[in-house]
Symmetry: C2
Subunit: 229 residues, 2 copies
Amino acid sequence: MIPRLLVSFDLAAGCDHDGTEAHAHYLRNVLRRGAGDAVSLFNSRDGEYAATIAELRKERVRFRIGALTRPQAGEPDLWLAFCLLKRDATDLVVQKATELGVSALFPILSARTNAAATRLDRLRAIAIEAAEQSERLTVPTMHAPQTLPALLAAWPTGRPLAAAIERAHAPPPTGQRALLIGPEGGFSAGELDALRAAPFIQPVSLGPRILRAETAAIAGLALLVRAAW
Amino acid sequence: MIPRLLVSFDLAAGCDHDGTEAHAHYLRNVLRRGAGDAVSLFNSRDGEYAATIAELRKERVRFRIGALTRPQAGEPDLWLAFCLLKRDATDLVVQKATELGVSALFPILSARTNAAATRLDRLRAIAIEAAEQSERLTVPTMHAPQTLPALLAAWPTGRPLAAAIERAHAPPPTGQRALLIGPEGGFSAGELDALRAAPFIQPVSLGPRILRAETAAIAGLALLVRAAW
């Protein structure tokens, strides 16, 4: 397996460029790679390039960039707004949403949110790792956690937001470009009122069965991705 | 939150019945419940009953069965055959498939299977826990791990099996009552030949993006559940 790495520098065939200390650590200590080994690099704008490790020391890695292997392509314009859950469940949502191709993630601090102190840099790292290990050429935008009223106030009104707040009497998500998933205990009465008053909210049902929040996020995204492809 | 427990005994209003030592441990040490507290019981055949804890000691619990709260209902007839993955990924597949309503699980030992020594009783315990924590009235049947040739040889030929073995040139799963998901490294050439030769195999695509095996299982089931509801 050839490691895929997100880098920040420009990619062009024939150039050398240093990776980060984190890249060096990951290649050397986690993957046990060395000079001459192949990697694959992407930076969200120049496509994907074959590269080799020109030099690898404890805190330093230098890449030799080879040929373009995949030109940059647009990702689907699909957003996920999700209430922060317990740590493992939040991690799962970020990882699977990234794999499924979501372009932007909006973590929400709802009235019944479990996780007060989620570190944004941790969530970003999970999204980067999931992008590296899938075939994405981009990394989803990870917005800072905000309350539901703040999210609704700033929402672009022309973008329908499928909200999994109904059990069985709503249609499945079909073609919306954004999905909202509530917290484990459901939205509060006040939050539900705010959702019902927002003109861009479209209530949807994910089926006859109550799903855990993280399962609802993955299943709902699978349906939206299906409608988009 | 009222604990939901799977029991093996018959359920009828007004009866007392002993739970297992595992029930006693879970209620007493994990959930910190005591005599008089409410539980909810199901056994896959008599529906769901309200009950109270009549007595709770270290290794013994006695339930007093109250009123029927939900009559037994049929579950969708949907099977998942999946190659055993790394432990966390396998656990996730079993948990989420149970939540999504799968009626039978077929773990497969494929040529590229990661997990040689998966304990069947562990997988069954994960399915039971997921059933208890969702609203299922049944627990999916967990078959013993078998090779792909053994699975194919014993498959009921009248049941189309959607196989996620094509990338983009196959239709999405639509209405099949069974899904087959390969191992992390994909099926071997010999396994793919066997699949192509099986008359009940219907190749499907889960979209333009390569998904991890466990993500493919959840996303594929979400599409099949959607088609069934």
